[in-house]
Amino acid sequence: MEDKDEDAVRGTSVEPTQVETDLSDETQDFRLLSHLNLYARNAAHPLQANANTQSPPSSLTDTSSPGLPKRGEKDFEPNPTQHQADVLSKSREAMHDALAHPRLHNLNTRVIAYYAPDGPAPPPGIDIEDPARFGDKGVGANVHPDSCVYVPNPKGQYFKNMGQSDRWNRVWLLPEEALFLIERGSLDIRWPIEMTAAPEDEGPEELSIPMSLQAAYACFMGRSGLTMERYTVYTGLKRTGYALTRAPGWDDSAQVEGLKDQNQECASQRPLKRGAGLAGILEQLFSWAQDPFSTRSTAAGPVVGCGMHRNYNNIYRQLAVIPWYDPSLAIDRDPLDTTPPFRVVFHAYRPSTPIKKSAWPAPDFRIAVVNTRETAAIPTLAQLGALLESTPLDPPSGEKMKRLVYMRLRHGYRNVVMAVVDQGIVSYLRIADAAFGKEKLYETQAASMGNKRNGNFRGKKR
């Protein structure tokens, strides 16, 4: 009975419980790092190897590495042994070594960018006769108007899915992209020359002044809707390997007067009293023939009547009196017809998804970002419903889904990922529009019962 559920709680069932352990939730044990380098370089001493290493700590997450050690068991409380103290100090030492390692920038891979506080503009000295011809400010239609950093000589892998190039082959970066790159140490952003030097000695890049990380934060954070929460989500997913773009709903102030609650009506599934036309009349006749003395009354009950029933499916069908929402009938909403922050702001792509910067494909995930300190309450039905209706219909499909009811229900008809940020801690929630009303469970149950009567029934679970 319900003790079986308790079994699952304690996780002591005989099979190894496959709980959602998220390694990123845990503190890294830095001793593993030294082990890793030990295996990688075959050095005699782990610490030595660590001191020589060139690989950044991010190689820890690289699971393909053959020498990746397994996690040992954790100690949960201190004990007086010297051994435990040793382990702890070793771990600390390894961490310090990893952090103290000098980070060098190779001149060959240096990428220089310039800050353009006024947004995208053509290079100095070039006049555009007809700015309107080339879209925004004459730099090219692809360049996002919120971009504020340009890279004259783009090289390296980062520009595969970041930035947009203009007519002069300069890549324009959005504030979050520039901040991400400068934080990674992959970009050297310079102050604009007009701001730092007299106009006459313009020219060689040696004269321009590099921007510090602090200055970058000061310049880019808060610019064109980039909040700390959005940046945290952006950089977190970016480091995990996803590609991200801004979604149309980025701008919080944009509003569209749309359908409002029209969907409430059109997607509402009211139980039908009778089918249409001749079929409905026949159906009624048939149901009358099944039970001519029905005492069925939905007003005062009993809903199924006190009479005789021919089968359980009919009983269940009669019981359906509660209206429910059918997501497959809802009309798609404009992404702006939603209440911020319950609005898709990022489109995320798996690393395996082929990306063309000029024409982004349909995203793998749609992400809304919520700051718990500003929006302390979870969304109301109106807010959440609008958010989901602004995403395209994604009904369960595939052979496996067709077979498994639970999987179908879990997948839902529309889905969105909500990144809930609480002072820098992000937790992601996938929200799907499940349509329980579309899955008539009693029909599958009746089928399995029928099998049993034939004597060849075998349960799938014990």
């Binding site: 004990n79 009993p302 019981l319 209206p323 039905l381 809930v420």
Partner: protein, 466 residues
């Protein structure tokens, strides 16, 4: 009744099979599991009388179908209507009739035993305690499993302590001998990641393997369904260690029981009176009365049947604590209305809906019933006030906000608990209509509400990346 099969077998088998009494001490065969498929073959406590199928090329089948149709038409089979009473002191509904209790539990898993965890099994446990019966109830199985687990944990603590003591001794010795200390430290450190501590799970697994091995050696064929399934699926099974223990303990109990039962069976049967009743939740009661028409709820004081039209307001008023006065107005967002709308919705789709209070949710959804499989979905109910009526005045807006708002911390908390017990969390929003005057039409009232379900689960970027 779930164990009725098992108990009858247990009582009769010693006489029927003398071979079992003779000394083959190793293992008595496990008592057969109750046939849940047979016991719970009816999904609702309503009788259905199917017309025999008509096979076109067999004229006899047409005849038999017509005959059965006509016979049902002439002498209608009567539907049993059970009785329950409403207890105003506790705002709850009780069923005391033995037959009704069994019927409501077996067909659709309604209610819970007041002295049991879910299935009313007090009488059986009590009989067993007095040595009258063999077999086992689920409560006892759990108790035994808990004891075993506690023993394993104690064992773990002991072995950990031993390990620490040993290490301390080693270190002390090393300190005395002086120079060898650092080398010891190094060697110990290298092994540290490979050392396996005593783990309860490992111990359970080992025991399980061992018992499996023994079983297959005994020649009892192991059904293929018994093999451990993939870790993804949660199979419903008592740990076989426990089952084995149960089996041995039952056999001894049976031996004692048979001798004891022979002596004073009659006496104890007379003394033992079932102290337990079935308590059904208010939603279940109203569903049985209004939806299925198989229950009558009596007023305890006046001993009269409460008509359906009075039962609904009564239950709505009693969904508050303290219950609202008789004359007070009914709110469209009474907790009873919200929970009943959801209850009825999922029942009408074929789910077995039971309370989810153990997991911090409002309901659990079982496919077919708790004896067959774990609940896959856990459900929380949140009211929604989209109707323009609710945002007309400042006062109403404030009221609505206070009713709707839940914190993110609460949501994460519920969500993490569900992930831990491998259930999917369903947020069920119920659209609340504006208040309307008193109406006799219950279906019209229920039809004003609307249910919308969202499935929530944690998204882990590392997992969905590839």
């Amino acid at each position: 009744m779930a164990d009725a099969n098992a108990t009858s077998v247990a009582q009769t088998s010693p006489e029927a099979d003398p071979a079992r009494v003779n000394p083959r001490p190793a293992r008595a065969p496990r008592p057969p599991r109750p046939n849940y498929r047979l016991i719970h073959r009816f999904p609702l406590p309503v009788n259905a009388h199917p017309v025999p199928p008509v096979i076109p090329h067999n004229p006899l089948s047409i005849l038999s179908a017509a005959l059965s149709y006509l016979s049902f038409l002439i002498s209608r089979p009567s539907q049993e209507i059970h009785s329950a009473y409403f207890d105003p002191a506790t705002s709850s509904i009780h069923v005391t009739d033995e037959k009704a209790i069994r019927a409501l539990w077996e067909m659709g898993f309604f209610g819970k035993g007041s002295l049991s965890r879910s299935e009313p099994s007090w009488l059986e446990r009590e009989k067993k305690r007095r040595g009258l019966l063999g077999g086992n109830t689920s409560e006892e199985a759990t108790r035994r499993r808990r004891e075993e687990r506690r023993a394993l944990k104690l064992e773990r603590a002991r072995s950990e302590k031993l390990l620490i003591d040993e290490r301390l001794k080693l270190e002390a010795a090393a300190r005395e001998s002086g120079s060898t200390a650092p080398s010891l430290g190094d060697s110990v450190d290298d092994t540290v990641t490979t050392i396996e501590k005593f783990s309860v799970k490992k111990a359970m697994e080992a025991k399980y393997q061992e018992s499996r091995l023994r079983r297959s050696q005994n020649g009892t064929s192991v059904p293929p369904a018994d093999t451990p399934e993939s870790s993804q699926s949660k199979s419903v099974r008592f740990s076989s260690v426990v089952e084995q223990k149960e089996a041995t303990s039952t056999s001894t109990a049976r031996l004692q029981g048979s001798s004891l039962a022979d002596a004073d069976e009659l006496d104890i049967e007379d003394i033992l009176e079932n102290q337990e009743h079935l308590q059904i939740s208010n939603e279940e009661a109203f569903f049985l009365v209004y939806g299925l028409g198989v229950l009558r709820v009596f007023d305890r004081e006046q001993n009269t049947v409460i008509p359906t039209s009075n039962l609904l307001p009564l239950l709505r008023r009693n969904s508050y604590f303290p219950p609202h006065a008789e004359a007070s107005e009914l709110n469209p967002d009474d907790p009873f209305m919200l929970s009943y709308v959801v209850y009825h919705h999922f029942r009408s789709l074929g789910w077995v809906v039971r309370s989810g209070v153990k997991f911090g949710t409002d309901y659990l959804l079982y496919n077919r019933g708790p004896v067959f499989s774990h609940a896959e979905f856990a459900l929380i109910i949140i009211p929604s006030y989209n109707d323009p009526y609710w945002s007309e005045t400042e006062e109403r807006r404030e009221y609505v906000t206070s009713k709707q708002s839940r914190s993110w911390w609460w949501l994460h908390c519920v969500n993490r608990v569900q992930a831990q017990v491998k259930k999917s969390l369903v947020i069920c929003y119920v659209e609340v209509p504006p208040p309307t005057g008193p109406s006799e039409d219950i279906a019209a009232l229920l039809g004003q509400y609307q249910v919308r379900e969202f499935l929530l689960r944690r998204w882990i970027p590392n997992r969905t990346r590839d």
